[in-house]
Structures are given as C-alpha cells and as structure tokens.
Amino acid sequence: MNAWIAISPLLLLVVGGLLTMLVDAFSKEGKGEVATVTAATLFLAAGVSFAALLNGQDPQDVPEIFGAYLATDRLGLFFDVAIGLGGGLSALLAGGYLREHGLERGEFYILLLFSAFGAMVLARSTDMLTLFVGLETMSIGVYALAGFRRGSPRSIESALKYYLLGSFAAAILLFGAALIYAGTAHTDFAGIGAAVEGGHADVKLVLFGLLLVLVGLAFKVSAVPFHMWTPDVYEGAPTPATTFMSVVVKAAAFAVFVRVVITAFGDEMSSSSAGGWPPVLAGLAVVTMVYGNLAAIAQNSVKRMLAYSSIAHAGYILVGLAASSVVGQRAISAVLFYLMAYTVSNVLAFGSLILMGSRGREAVSFDDLAGVGRRHPLAALPFIIAVLTLMGFPPTAGFIGKYYVFSSAVEAGGGFIWLAVLGVLASAVGAYYYLRILVAMFMKDPIPGEPVAVPMRSGSVVAALVISGLAVMQMGLMPGDMLDLAVAAAEQLFAG
C-alpha cells in the first residue's frame, strides 16, 4: 500500500467538502441533498480507512511517515474510521434536527466536513506544526457550529465560551510547543523523542513545555480541572453540533495525546512513574472520573448530564493512557477500542435525545422525557441501548471498552490498580444518573400543563440511530474484530 492510499481519507474529505459547497450553492429548497453528500463523504472516508486497515495485514506495508508532518500509519487509519463514522452520523442527525427546528442552512454541513478534516489531520500529526494547524482547523469549524442558532442567546453563549477558552488553551499548548522546541531544537515528535532520550535536551524547559502541552490537550478532551466550558457549551450548542464535538473532537484530541506521550515522550525519564507524565495523567484521571460522575448526578437537563458523562468518560480513557507508561501496547489498544466504542455510544445517546424532540418542543430535561417510553416504546428503544452502553452494561460496546481499559490498568500493577478500582466505583455511580433517563421515560407521568414530548419523524435520524445501535451491539457481541485492528495499530505505534 502506498502513501497516497494511506492519506486518501483526507483527500476524500477535501474533495467532498468542495463538492458539498457546490451542491449547497445549487440546491434551492431544503438541504437534504447537502446532508446526504456530507454523510456519504464521511462514511466513504471511514469505509476506505476500514478497508485499508483490514487489507494491510503486514504493518510494513504502510509507510511510516508521509513527509515529516503526517503519519500514514494504522493508528491514523483507525482514527479516520472513528472520525468518519462519528462525523457522518452527526451529519445524519443534523439532517433531521436542522429541518425539524427550522435551522436548515447548508453551512452547517460544510463546517462539519472541514472540521472533520482538521480532526483527521490532528489525529495523524507527527509534528507540533501539524498538531497546531489540525487543532485549529478542527476547532474553528466547531466554534461556528456551536453558535449556529444565531438568534438564541444560549447558542451564542455556548460559542463564545468555547471560543474564548478554546483559543486560550490553544495558546497555552502552543507556548508549550515553543518551549519544547527551545529545549530540543525539534518540532517533530520523533526528533523530540530522540533529543530527550539522547540527553541533548534542556530538561527543565522540555518538562515545563510538556506540562503546558498536556494542559492544552486536557482542555480539548475536557478533563477536570480544565472542563469548566464543557457543560455550558454542550448545553447551548445545537444537539448535532454537541454530538460532533463530544465524539470527533474528543477522539482526535486523544489520538494526538497518544502520539505525544508515546512518540515524543516515551523515553524512560518522561514516562517513569516517579516523574514525567504518568502521575500527571493519573491525577487528572482521578479527579475527572470522580468529579464528572458526581456532578452528573445533580443535573436536570439530559444534555448537561451527557456533558458531565462525557467528562467522566474522558477520565476512564485517561486511566488507560496513564497505564500505557507500564503496559504500553496493551493499554493503548484498550484506549483505541474504548474511543471507538464511546464514539458510537455517544452518537446513539445524543441521537435518541434528538429523536425525542419535535418542532418547538426540543427534549432537553428529564421532565421532557416523562412517560414518553410508554407512549412511544419503539422511539425509546435506542435510548435504552444508549443507556446500557454508556453505563458499561454487557453485552454492549461500552462494557467491553471499560473492561479492556480497566484490565490494562490492573495489569500495569502498582498504583494503577487503585485507578482501576476507582474507575469501577465511579462507573457504578454513573449507573444511577443514566438509569434516571429510563425511570423518566417509563415510570414518570408528564407534568400536567407542561408540553408533552412527541418524537420527531425523520428518516436520517432513524438511519443514524440504526447504524450506531448496530455498531454498539456488534462491538459488544463480537469485540474481536475491532480489537484486532486496535491491537495492530498500537503494535505499529510502538514498533515505529
């Protein structure tokens, strides 16, 4: 396989993005075809990457580096699948949601597509330069998506908060990258790794720079204490935009997180349990899991609860990332599988919430969902699966993901075992607030006088729910296929 095939998902998104702009310009009524083209482009990119992963049995077939800036490895392809799938499903959800709520404008899909392109660049970056450019390409699109409902103060507030904190975090990350450059004279991850390992680096500058880079990335994955923007931004943004940022942005940020800690700082000093990044990540994981789960309990809005839930999930992933300092390959493959499982699970959850609302009556709070399960059992079915997989209940993708991440932490031994124990306890707390959705849907009656939730009718939302629901069950019942791909991707990362 040559390098052009390996970066074909990126090229596909660029061509698809330009095509979408043309289709948008020529479509008169409705934007159904724009949504279709966008979703098709993203699914095609995911499919091409998936086929490339399945066919390239020998990791040697895939060239390591495309130029010095973009990786063309299995890890990149794996995240192309996650980003293409997450983005495509978000586009399908948007197709139903925007029409139902009278927001139908073609820009949404174009921004989403180019933002997904930035996410893929970010996930493949092997240099601080591509990291920065990818991060900004992704983020700038998402800032605009968050403020898409221009007439709504909440949507603008959401965009403003995301924009201000996002660009502040990007500046911090960039200053960290500049300090690492000052300490090692390299901006590429491999060069940084070689300089640090060879002892040619100014250790103090590099470690301080690494700390700033980790802070910047922690903002993007919304780890506590850098999460303050998350609930407000997730609540105020249009729900398909929230879906996109909770799956695609998080997956891409974790992808580059993996590359930074493994490729650039995988040396013995930076990855020792006494100093360097593992204790920092373990500390972040602890506070993120505890705070995310506890804060989620107190929420009245389902959207806000899902925001805190996504913070908690970032904590579980950080457990795996911290454990990768001891059982590298094992932990990274668990993290990859978890991210894929989280992507489809979260799309399913937000998609179910979208399905529950119709024009003028968007379902947001637990009260909005009261009794809807008894009146519309079929529409409630995806929510049931979403609740189970987010809780980590077998036989769903969420269960297998949690199992792999926590068992890799146990394998790492030492203090990581306590991280795993805490993670299991935190997910037990999580069961409470996820089950509240089911209680509201099946055991509560609507409050008299309040509007009663009526599920919307939309083929594209149903299609997104069917795809993500099937993926959740497939990865739960037959996790082997996806896990093999994750293991192969992690193997190649450590070999290279």
Binding site: L129, I140, Y143, I156, S158, S167, A171, A178, L179
Partner: protein, 102 residues
C-alpha cells in the same frame, strides 16, 4: 548585557504572562481577543529566536508564519461570535453571556 536565548525566552514568557493575565482579568471580549493575540505573538518571539540559535532548518520561522495565518482565521470567527453576542445583548462583555450556570 549579553543577549542570549535566555533573554528571548524571558521576553516571550513576560509577553505571554501579560496576555494570560489580560485574558483572565478583563471582561470585554475584544480585549480578551487582543490578549490572546499577545499570547500568540509571545509564542512567535520564542519560535523565531530559537530558530536563530538552531539554524539547521527553518522550522521555527516557518512555524511562526503558520501561527500568524491561523491567528487571523481564528480572530475572524471570534469577531463574528462577538457580533452575534452584540446583536442579542447590546454588549461585548463576556460576563453578559451568563444564561447557563452550573
């Protein structure tokens, strides 16, 4: 006084610090945008200075151009969001965007 790399790093750190403090204490979104620009320019100072001392390749210079270009794109979206805020609230204070609370 000898001008060394350390001098440039100190200048960069001071500029970055002023920008960060400005961002955190001011409530006018436009001033916050300017503070972010100051932080990004502090980064540029460091990048270009380091390149002077490691002239094997032009990574730092190149990086600085990318930072300038991306900062412009970011500012464009930021100003659009500020206009959106002003239309609804007749104010450009970030403290007026307070409908959602924890």
């Amino acid at each position: 006084m000898d001008i060394t790399l350390g001098t440039f790093l100190a200048l960069g750190a001071i500029l970055f610090g002023i920008g960060a403090i400005g961002f955190l204490v001011r409530r006018n979104v436009l001033v916050q945008l300017m503070s972010i620009e100051l932080m990004l320019n502090a980064v540029n100072v460091v990048l270009v200075a380091v390149n002077r001392y490691h002239p094997e390749n032009q990574a730092g210079q190149l990086f600085a151009f990318f930072v300038i270009a991306v900062a412009a794109a970011e500012a464009a979206v930021g100003l659009a969001i500020v206009i959106g805020l002003y239309r609804l609230k007749k104010s450009v204070a970030s403290s007026d965007a307070d409908q959602m609370r924890h």
